[in-house]
Amino acid sequence: MIEQIHFLTCLVNNDSKGIMEIYTLIFPKVRKFILQNKGQQQDAEDIFQKALIQITVRYKREKFKINSSFEAYLFTTCKNLWRKELKRAKNRVTNSDIIELVATERDMALNIMEQKRWELFTEKLDSISENCKKALTLFFNKTPYKDIVKKMGYNSETAARQRIFKCKAKLSDQIKEDQRYNSLKTL
């Protein structure tokens, strides 16, 4: 908690010494992750800077609570930004439509909101039963039903489908019942 406040304050106050501490502590992990996932050194530097700006601006506006260490939170933010970049790169190759280029600030504003939505969804997935969470994680990661049957010990694919349907309904209800979803559903 003290560490979180320290780093967030350094960012808000534009304190280069504190920001250097953040770099020393966390950049190597982010760099390693991006290089292992189709990225280059420059991508790692860009993503890291974007994530720091995103966190600072969001903190300035809403003083949000980080439920993990600052290090883990920054790493996850970088990871999510990189996921988005990879998806975009994939869309650029497969989509023949003209891609609308969005202004950087607008794109970053959307990133903040997408991160908020992702946090809500993952938080709710963590809050349902361990069994449902496990089944849904397999399902969302495109595991074939026949493999879900084996891994989860269900009797049949039909049983797996019904179980996942029920778990998904539970998760959906919890997300929709949360106040935060009201402002995120129209995103």
């Binding site: 601006v57 506006r61 959307l110 994680t137 959906s172």
Partner: protein
């Protein structure tokens, strides 16, 4: 939602429906808001909770998005961007040098050359040079009102100031500083600038602070001259703080000039 409808939506998202089934879903999406909401939510679930995908939003008209966009365009965010770039360069250079010691010496040599260029080049932009470029005494308000011949001492101080006899002008101004009733802001300004030109930086800072705290119409000018004072003393970080105050609003005195200097510092 029924399990059948759920399967239909899954297959639509996975693009495994036949052409006929796909067209039926597209038609429903067009005409049935409830169904459209279900598909959108299902897509959000899948893209957010899949480890390799991401749910990309396009609603840039969302009020919160607009609000964040504004914050991201603010001067304080621009300043943070600059700091991040500087820290990143320093950090990456350190890392490179750790791995290749010879690069450290090359780096030092480059820094020294750049420093030499900065010091000796005619294009240098040292803070005190920015001071010289931006101080414009011709735009100072007059110490006395037109036709007010009663204020003889102030007329004299102004004439001395205009001929750059700052020490003599200051002798008069310092006497007037606490007692003056009319044109207080101008007296504070002339006093501060004279002190600044004479290298009495602490005194100049006090004079400009007096103007800033006076709440006179011209008090915002104190912030500008205090920024110039720090530039003259080669104290860019202190100057930046003052300049940032000015750039908080485009209606502030010397907003354009403050923004220019910030980009050069």
């Amino acid at each position: 939602m029924s399990i059948e409808e759920d399967i239909l939506i899954q297959d639509f998202i996975k693009k495994t429906l036949s052409e006929k089934e796909k067209n039926e879903v597209l038609l429903r999406l067009k005409n049935d808001k409830n169904f459209r909401d279900k598909v959108n939510f299902e897509e959000q679930l899948i893209f957010n909770l899949n480890n390799t995908d991401w749910s990309i939003s396009k609603n840039s008209n969302h009020p919160e998005v607009k609000e964040y966009e504004k914050l991201l365009k603010s001067d304080s965010t621009n300043l943070l961007k600059g700091t991040l770039q500087a820290v990143n360069s320093e950090y990456q250079l350190k890392q490179t040098n750790k791995n290749k010691p010879w690069l450290l010496y090359t780096g030092i040599a480059v820094v020294l050359v750049l420093f030499g260029l900065k010091v000796f080049s005619p294009f240098k932009t040292l803070p005190n040079e920015l001071y010289a470029n931006y101080i414009d005494l011709s735009e100072l308000p007059s110490l006395v009102n037109r036709g007010d011949s009663k204020q003889k001492t102030l007329i004299k101080a102004q004439k001395l100031f205009e001929t750059k006899a700052y020490d003599k002008s200051l002798t008069i101004l310092e006497k007037e500083f606490t007692t003056v009733q009319k044109n207080k802001a101008a007296v504070y300004l002339y006093t501060g600038i004279s002190q600044m030109e004479l290298g009495q930086f602490n005194k100049a800072e006090i004079s400009f602070n007096t103007l800033i705290e006076s709440k006179l119409i011209d008090s915002p000018k104190g912030i500008w001259y205090k920024a110039l004072l720090f530039l003259k003393q080669n104290e860019p970080s202190k100057a930046k703080k003052m300049l940032l105050q000015i750039t908080e609003s485009s209606s502030n005195y010397k907003y354009k000039e403050a923004s220019e200097i910030l980009s050069k510092l």
